[in-house]
Each structure stands twice: as C-alpha cells, then as structure tokens.
C-alpha cells in the first residue's frame, strides 16, 4: 500500500477524535493526573495533552495490562471447571492517540515478542484491535536517547498514522497501515491530502551518544566489570524502571481466590525485585541488587540483541526520569561505551 500523506488542523483533529468516540471506539490518549501524564480512556478530547516530552507511564498496558485474568476455575463435588479468558476476550476497537514514535516502536516490538513462538492470545487480540496514532517529537530532554538506540524522533515503525506538528497549528501526517487508513477514511474531509513533504525541520535533533552495535559489543564481555556494582550502589531495588518501560515484559502468574473458586492472573513483575529469581530452596541466582541491575541492562542491550537482532530499548528515557535514585540509563550506557574499553573475561 502506498503511504498516503495529508495535513490536518489541530481543531479538525480534535473533531475527528470526538467523532471516533461517538461511533463507539475507545480513545486512549495522554491526559494529566496531577503532575503526571498517563494514557487513559478519554471522553472529552479537550483533556488530551499535546504539549509534553514524554508521558510518565508507557502505553504498553493497552496490549499487556498490569493485571490480566487468564483463567478462572471452579470446584464442584470433585470436579474442576475451567474458564478460558482468552476465548471470551473481545477487546474494543481502540484508538491510541498521541504516543511518541519511540512508544509506537516499543509497542510493535512488544507485540512481536509476545506473538513469536507459542504466541499469546491476549496480546495478539488486543494488538489487532489497536490503532496507533503517534506524534513525532519536536522537543526532547536530556533523558531522551532514542537516536542512540536506533530509533528516531519521527520513527514510523509501529505507528498506524504518524503525525508531525508543522506551522499554523497543523499536522502533517502519513498513513502507514491499513488500520491507519481506516482511521483517516473515517475522518473524511478533515484530512486534507497532501504531497509527501520533508518535515525534518520540525523534528527535534538528538545527538547520537553511541550506537547499538557499540553498546552490544562492549557488553559482550562486560559481565564481570566492577562498574555494575559501582553504578548500582544507589539503586534501591524498586520496580519503577521496569514498570514504566514500554518494552519490559516480565510477568508473574498468580492465583487468587480459593481452591473452590478463583482466577489466575498475569501481573507485571520486575527483574529488579530480589524475589524475582529466588528459588524456594533459598538459593537466589541474582542475590544482590547490582546483579539485578546488570541483568536489566544486559538483557536489553546484550541478550535480546543476541536473540532477536534488536535492542530491548527505544530510548524513551522514562526509567531515568522516574527513577527515585536518579539511575540514568543513558549516562550509564555512555559510561559503558566509554569506560568499558578493557574488560577482563573472568571465566
């Protein structure tokens, strides 16, 4: 399909969104809750926030909710009956509006991860019903480092429609997928067809601090480097970085209720918690925080690249922005690329 391009005014865009809700779609967009910015179901398009660098929560919970019931059971007179939630699931058609391109990339990678191998009916069905309208970045802060991990501020991967704010309160848009096409079609006249434009001037430029290849190479034998311990001394071992990360996908499976009646839930989990890997025998393969911090970094920048030929990070910077101890991932990666020139392979 050839990419359709268009322009739309801010006002018309709001109209389109209002209409989306009116026809029964679920609209999810960035809104403020106190000082924080979240992706939430929106009823009033006026509440949508356009002027922000990055939301505080990633939109990953649209495909991978923080709690997902997978199964219910009931015991009755010696028999057990199961209810498969995957069979019952009927996700609403959802428009995810206003994501940053990095989040859209992340979502696509997340969906890909869950779908490969045995697959995951929950993520799959939610993803099928999700249309992602992202807005390219015109601003960035020092936490952002998408360009260093192979993502650009106007990356089109993962998005169904990519908007770029241009002059006069207008957006220049590219329709990237069939789902995007459907969205634009419904918007009718509000979208004014346009010739493909070079909008690079509007996009923020972000210095490339390092390259993915660099970081992966450096990490290849950095496992025993003392940097891990030094850099993670201030890490307090909470799960913030993993929970706000658009790509972190580790989860826990928990049963609730009683043996007579209950549900089996899938909940987010974090490799930062000491219990994550604790065996019932008391043995813990990663028993100190530096090992867990190393696992997070290695997993994203060394293990995933080894398996999937891509990084497990899109450089959105949330983990660093929200870290209570100011563990700055970008800074850390810079240190790795600069300082880990000489590493001993102990084993």
């Amino acid at each position: 399909m050839s990419h359709r391009t268009f322009t739309i005014t801010h006002e018309n865009l709001l109209d389109v969104l209002t209409n989306t809700i009116a026809v029964g779609n679920r609209l999810v967009a960035p809104v403020r809750r106190g000082k924080k910015l979240f992706f939430r179901d929106v009823q009033e398009v006026q509440s949508i926030v356009f002027d922000f660098i990055q939301s505080d929560e990633s939109p990953k919970d649209l495909v991978f909710p923080r709690v997902e019931p997978m199964l219910a059971h009931e015991y009755n007179a010696g028999n057990v009956y199961l209810i498969d939630f995957a069979e019952k699931l009927q996700p609403l058609p959802t428009i995810l509006f206003g994501t940053r391109p990095c989040d859209a990339v992340a979502l696509s990678l997340l969906i890909e991860f869950f779908n490969e191998g045995v697959g995951d009916p929950f993520v799959e069905q939610r993803a099928e019903n999700l249309t992602i309208i992202s807005i390219a970045c015109t601003r960035a802060d020092s936490y952002c480092f998408c360009t260093s991990v192979g993502v650009s501020p106007n990356d089109s991967r993962g998005s169904d429609v990519l908007l770029t704010p241009i002059d006069n309160d207008q957006y220049y848009g590219i329709v990237l997928t069939e789902k995007g096409n459907a969205f634009v079609k419904k918007g009718g006249d509000n979208f004014i067809p346009s010739e493909p434009k070079d909008v690079a001037q509007y996009i923020v430029t972000l210095r490339e601090e390092f390259t993915p290849q660099e970081i992966t190479q450096r990490l290849a034998n950095a496992f025993n480097h003392p940097l891990w311990m030094d850099a993670s001394l201030r890490c307090i071992g909470c799960g913030t970085c993993t929970y706000v990360c658009p790509l972190c996908s580790c989860f826990d499976i928990q049963d609730e209720g009683t043996q007579t009646k209950g549900v089996r839930l899938r909940c987010w989990d974090s490799c930062g918690f000491s219990l994550f890997t604790l065996h019932t025998s008391g043995h813990n393969p990663r028993h100190i925080q530096s090992e867990r911090w190393r696992q997070r970094v290695m997993h994203k920048f060394s293990y995933i690249p080894q398996n999937r030929n891509l990084l497990g990070c899109v450089g959105c910077g949330r983990c660093s922005r929200l870290c209570p101890a100011d563990m700055n991932l970008k800074e850390h990666l810079c240190t790795i690329t600069k300082e880990m020139t000489e590493v001993k392979a102990d084993r």
């Binding site: 919970d61 923080r66 709690v67 997902e68 019931p69 939630f85 009927q90 996700p91």
Partner: protein
C-alpha cells in the same frame, strides 16, 4: 424485595467473649443468626489483615471483642489490641471506609446477655448501613466483563 441480611464475622478471644457467647447459649438467649464466630486465643492475636480479608471476601460488618481491660487472661493482650484498633480505625476512616462497620466491644465470660445484645445491635446497624459498598466497589473489577479488559488503572 427481601430485606438485606448482613454477613457479620466476629473475632473473639477464647477466654472472655467466646465464653460469654457460650453463656448466651447456655442461657438460651436468642439472637440474630447473621454472625459467624472465629475464635482466637486473645484479642492481641487478632491481625488487622484478617479484618480486611473478611471485608474483602464479602463481610458487611466485623465484630471484634475480648476481655474487659485488666481482665485479659494474658494480662495485656487486649490493651495491645486496643492500641492497634485505635490506629487501624483511624486509617480506615482516612482511606474512606466507614469505621462503623467494625464494632469493637468488651464482653466478659459473664456477659451472655451483652453478647446477644451486641450481635443484635450490630446486625441492626449494619443492616442500616447496607452492604459494604467500598469493598464491592473495589471488587467491581472482578466482574466478568470488566475483568476481561484486564486491569490497567
């Protein structure tokens, strides 16, 4: 429509209130059947988490009762419990849960009539308050259609 029948759990100590409730029985004093008694060695043993669990699993009210001050079989379990309740009650109220749903009382082994009275009053009061809506509210998420969407805050 049938009148709302509250479900009430009573957490009582073995030595005073449980014995008091036994006396109610021995004296054949009738009272409302809505209460289920859970026996603890002492009020000091009663974990506030059990009160939360009771509500969360569907109780509309909770009675917590033990020996009168200075009468504790273990001398001071009830004093410790009282302190804990003062804080727990305040916190519940602060977080928006009606503290009237938890009824604290001292019922001695001799107060069989007081036990019956306590239960009857509790049933009447909780019936007026209606089902524990706060917890029902929190659990709405479990309703099948809503649960299907997963919980995302």
């Amino acid at each position: 429509m049938k009148e709302f029948e509250p479900k009430i759990v009573a957490f009582v100590c073995n030595w005073c209130t449980y014995a008091g409730a036994d006396l109610t029985g021995t004296s054949r004093i009738h009272y409302a059947p809505n209460v289920r008694v859970v026996r603890f060695p002492c009020t000091g043993r009663i974990d506030y988490n059990l009160i939360i669990k009771a509500f969360e699993r569907g109780a509309d009210g909770v009675i917590v009762s033990g020996c009168h001050p200075n009468d504790c079989h273990y001398t001071s379990g009830n004093f410790h419990a009282r302190r804990r309740w003062i804080v727990f009650r305040t916190l519940l109220e602060y977080i928006g849960i009606d503290p009237r749903r938890i009824i604290f009382s001292w019922v001695s082994a001799a107060e069989g009539a007081k036990w019956a009275d306590l239960v009857n009053k509790a049933v009447r009061e909780i019936r007026e308050l209606g089902p524990a809506k706060e917890f029902i509210n929190m659990k709405q998420w479990y309703e099948f259609e809503k649960a299907l969407g997963g919980f995302r805050g």
